[in-house]
């Protein structure tokens, strides 16, 4: 934790006199892109986990993300990728190790999934605002869908444990559940755990005891269900959203999502957003 800096700043620059949109905080990123050696590439069903060494980077907060690329970026499907891609940190081990969970859904993730131990990840980060601690002694409840489990794994580590509900499309993806401790699993096709949506499990949990803070990450439709379920029960929820990003550090204004207070740049004012700030978690252009 040596080189680590933790700062809490209001959104002074572009929203002075506003309370932040997220309870989370950020760790500053080194100012440049750096190479992080891949130490291990491991397959979890449909997902790849890359563990890498980042000796020059600080320890990130849970919920923060990195912009990742590889050498010989480009030249894939449709002559892409060109820009780096955003990935939540999955885990932050000792000795400046970071892990990322990647699903191959297009030319950028495809290239990253090809990387082998010994090759370099090019990274900028940690970026964005992470999760904030639960308030009022509420129990943390993690709800993840697909690759959305990534930020929940490191958050579960930091919290020293938390119940986790996770949903996947099918059995190969449900292998990802192994990345969380004691997760209850739902699959669309019923091949593993509950047959149906992870939000079925969430409803059950909240109906049992709504005194929780929900931390959720996953596809837009899932997050929207989480938002509605929590709003109905006045359960606070912190949602880690996704949107298309070119830069990840506020430079391009491309990653905006609508909130009750107007557009925010998700990369600097998110990706974790208080559910209460959103009218909807359905973000245009997201989800595959």
């Amino acid at each position: 934790m040596s080189a680590e800096q933790r700062v809490r700043r209001p959104l002074s620059a572009d929203s002075p006199a506003r309370r932040p949109l997220s309870a989370g905080s950020r760790v500053l990123a080194p100012f440049s892109r750096r190479a992080a050696r891949v130490l291990e590439r491991r397959v979890y069903g449909a997902y790849v986990v890359l563990r890498c060494a980042d000796p020059d980077g600080p320890r990130p907060r849970a919920g923060q993300f990195y912009m990742l690329a590889a050498r010989r970026w480009g030249g894939g499907d449709g002559e892409r990728p060109f820009l780096p891609r955003a990935f939540s940190v999955l885990r932050s081990g000792a000795d400046h190790e970071r892990a990322f969970l990647i699903e191959d859904v297009g030319p950028g993730t495809h290239r990253l999934c090809e990387l082998q131990a010994g090759e370099d990840l090019l990274l900028v980060g940690p970026l964005g605002l992470g999760f904030g601690a639960p308030e009022d002694a509420r129990r943390p409840l993690l709800v993840g869908g697909g690759v959305g489990i990534a930020p929940l794994a490191i958050w579960q580590d930091e919290l020293g444990g938390a119940s986790a509900l996770v949903g996947f499309r099918d059995a190969p993806r449900a292998e990802g559940a192994r990345l969380l401790a004691d997760a209850r699993v739902a699959t669309d096709d019923g091949s593993v755990g509950h047959r149906g949506l992870v939000t079925d499990l969430l409803r059950e949990e909240l109906d049992g005891d709504a005194h929780a803070t929900v931390y959720a990450c996953g596809p837009p439709a899932m997050l929207e269900s989480v938002r509605v379920l929590c709003a109905a029960r006045e359960t606070p929820a912190q949602l880690a959203l996704e949107s298309g990003m070119a830069c990840g550090f506020g430079a391009c204004f491309g990653c905006v999502v609508p909130t009750r207070r107007g557009y925010i740049r998700l990369c600097v004012d998110g990706p974790v957003v208080d559910a209460a700030e959103l009218e909807t978690a359905m973000v245009a252009g997201m989800g595959h």
Partner: protein
Amino acid sequence: MNAHAAATPTELSGIELAHPIINGSGTFDAIAARRVFGDALIGQFPFAAFVSKTVTVAPREGNPPPRLWETPGGLINSIGLPNKGLRRYLAEDLPELAALPVPLIVNVMGFTGDEVVELVSAFSVRDEVAALELNVSCPNVETGLVMGADPGEVTALLRRVRPLTEKPLIVKLTPNATDVVAVARAAQDAGASAVSLINTIRGMALDPRTGHPWLGGTTGGVSGPAVRAVALAQVHAVARGVGIPIVAMGGVQNGRDALDLIMAGATVVAVGTESFRDPAAGTRISRELAALCENSSISRHGTPLNC
């Protein structure tokens, strides 16, 4: 290549620059970057001047998302000029930007001549501002013509605003014009201190799932390496048509690309999209440029290069 070659100080319309690499408007937000990178941003500021994102009179939310689409070697953006508007920019951002270790160039756009007058007048009296860049790539709401594509529109606009300020006025040209040289010449003749080019090239993408336009703004602008050859051609042509300095940009990724634009006639080179891939790209590019210039026997029109 000597990676530690000394950067060559440069001068743009009276503004002293430590090296010839600056940023393209709208591709670097120094205030947001400070939140993300902390004081390292100030200590290692990558550009020799900071160009603001376009400021308009009224606040703008910008276009609905999605705003980005990746293309082969490039990017389409339809950001839609979100900004807090002149009043709040003056009150909130200008003081913060004054803390940067480099000169500040404010980029402004008006939808009418009156708006441009208001913007230029307001920044003209602010000491924090070293120069103004006029973004004229919007349609004139009165005539319907895209201001920056029409020499007559540019002349009329500059005639009005040139007398309002003693600061350098840089006119940012649009590449979506039949005759960019004619527009540059009109700008020069009406008193522009410099021209900058290229802005993004009109482009579009469809949502593969629906076949409808992907971008919230329907069309957008292409930037990045994909437009580099077009930028070089326009800079080369404009340099032969005007005598005022040129701020050149479009797809610059490394020192070689910057040197090409300088060879073609640019005084200063701006980096846009490449900063998205590496926030410190400006520093790398200025070092690569210095090394190339030191080791190269290349000179322009027989005179040593400004790099």
